[in-house]
């Protein structure tokens, strides 16, 4: 095997990889932020007694969860213009990932809402709080604490999904890695470094979210 490892070429392009990583993080952050809003609204729909909320919410979650994200990404970027919706690469990808993550986050939040005992709502009602006040002061804070572990794994997996943006030539980490691979032919080195950047970022994210979890933990 006539291949010897030489990282020099990759180090020379390391800036590009870091820029790519920064863009990956930006995409993930923007998409998850919007996704959390969609997911939360959908979760309230999923647990609603009103079928007019429950059915559409359920349909959205089922359709998105059973469709490959690459198809969604390509659809938004290449097919939506046919309907007159023209978005830039980045906007299109962020929107797609937001809608995609909304479905997964909705399931996470739904579990969290169900984990809050009904007595909490009743206690809020008994002191005269309105349903909205109960949601903001009691149910959401409790739900957030309950969902943090699964929220963190969902967020990490969504961060990894930003690599799909490479398919529509958004210059994020995977796209840059592929470019360096093709330009330098330092194939193994490029992919090792790119993977390590992903793995390291995931670990840091996981550690951060665990710290948040510890911080918010209810003392007992």
């Amino acid at each position: 095997m006539g291949y010897s490892l030489n990282f020099a070429a990759v180090w020379r392009s390391f800036d590009l990889l870091l820029e790519g990583l920064a863009l990956s993080l930006g995409l993930a952050f923007a998409a998850i932020l919007v996704g959390c809003v969609i997911g939360l609204a959908t979760a309230f729909g999923l647990v609603s007694k009103n079928i007019a909320f429950r059915k559409p919410a359920g349909l959205y979650v089922t359709v998105i969860r059973n469709t490959p994200i690459l198809v969604l990404v390509l659809f938004s970027y290449f097919a939506l213009p046919q309907l007159g919706v023209r978005l830039g690469k980045i906007e299109s990808f962020v929107l797609t990932l937001a809608i995609y993550s909304g479905a997964y986050l909705a399931e996470v939040f739904r579990g969290g809402l169900l984990s809050v005992p009904p007595g909490q709502r009743e206690a809020g009602l008994a002191i005269g709080l309105t349903e909205m006040q109960i949601r903001t002061s009691i149910i959401l804070p409790l739900m957030l604490r309950n969902v943090l572990p699964s929220l963190s794994s969902t967020m990490i997996s969504l961060f990894k999904d930003t690599s799909l943006a490479a398919a529509i030539a958004v210059p994020e980490l995977t796209f840059e890695a592929r470019k360096i691979n093709v330009e330098t032919f330092r194939v193994i080195e490029t992919w090792i470094v790119a993977s390590c950047l992903y793995v390291a970022t995931c670990s840091v994210l996981a550690a951060l979210l665990r710290a948040v979890e510890r911080r918010l933990a209810v003392p007992r």
């Binding site: 005992p117 007595g119 909490q120 009743e122 206690a123 809020g124 009602l125 008994a126 002191i127 005269g128 709080l129 309105t130 349903e131 006040q133 002061s137 009691i138 804070p141 409790l142 604490r145 209810v218 003392p219 007992r220």
Partner: protein
């Protein structure tokens, strides 16, 4: 002549096809302490929960201080009042629950303060001093910055009572407040309730503590199969039950 505080007329409540309250009538004067006893499934907790609209009811009316609770009849059609109005009416009563239902993510003080701030519109400082006063009253001033998870069951229930009473309700509802407690913790909670009774607080208690009902109540209501089976002065009722049902119930419960 004491003033009428609570007036329940022909209260009917169904869960689907099952009728759990089959026409309950009850009038309660200011300052009365009424214990509601009866076997499980007799409708006593349901009746209590109708008073603050934690349960909907299909027939009859409940009035507190002359105000119709939960429903209004407009043009001959009975309909549920607006959510905001119901919330305001709920705040006229305070409730303590069997499972305490303290908010686990808030300290004892913040549990008490939440309603004062959000419902009564108090500022933080004022709410905090009211919370201090009531937590002191239930003997937990030193624990006011503890979280529910750091308190014993008895302490949690006392915080829950302070949370309800701090709202300055016209009427306190107690729903089997000692049933979830270890036996050695029951007394501290009963002492708090007794103290409130001595202060002249109007109270409705659903309870299994017959000895306590006997000691603290001005009147006892025995619920049986969705109706009031018998009511009266505890001294007479417990010693000389008029109905066979009550006699059997008293025999099977721990009172003797």
């Amino acid at each position: 002549m004491t003033q009428t505080l609570l007036e329940i007329r022909d209260l009917h409540k169904r869960y689907g096809a099952v009728e759990v309250l089959k026409g309950v009538d009850c009038t309660m004067a200011q300052g009365e302490v009424i214990s509601i006893i009866g076997s499980s499934g007799s409708g006593k907790t349901t009746m209590l929960r109708c008073i603050n609209m934690l349960e909907e009811f299909q027939g009859g009316s409940i009035r507190i201080d002359g105000q119709e609770i939960g429903y209004e009849t407009v043009g001959g059609v009975r309909r549920r009042k607006k959510e905001k109005e119901i919330a305001r009416q709920r705040a006229m009563t305070g409730m303590a629950f069997q499972q305490f239902n303290l908010f686990p993510h808030m300290t004892a003080a913040r549990n008490v303060m939440l309603g004062l701030i959000k419902v009564r519109g108090m500022g933080r400082d004022e709410a905090r001093s009211v919370a201090e006063k009531w937590l002191d009253r239930v003997g937990l001033l030193s624990r006011m910055d503890h979280y529910p998870g750091q308190l014993s069951g008895g302490q949690q229930q006392r915080v829950a009572i302070a949370r309800a009473i701090a709202m300055n309700p016209k009427l306190m509802l107690f729903d089997e407040v000692t049933s979830a407690l270890d036996p050695e913790l029951v007394n501290e909670v009963l002492q708090v309730i007794k103290g409130l009774a001595e202060d002249g607080m109007s109270m409705l208690l659903v309870t299994h503590e017959m000895r306590f009902a006997y000691e603290v109540s001005t009147r006892v209501i025995f619920m049986n199969q969705g109706r009031i089976g018998e009511e009266g002065n505890p001294r007479e009722m417990f010693v000389k039950p008029q109905t066979k049902r009550l006699a059997e119930f008293l025999k099977s419960s721990s009172f003797n």
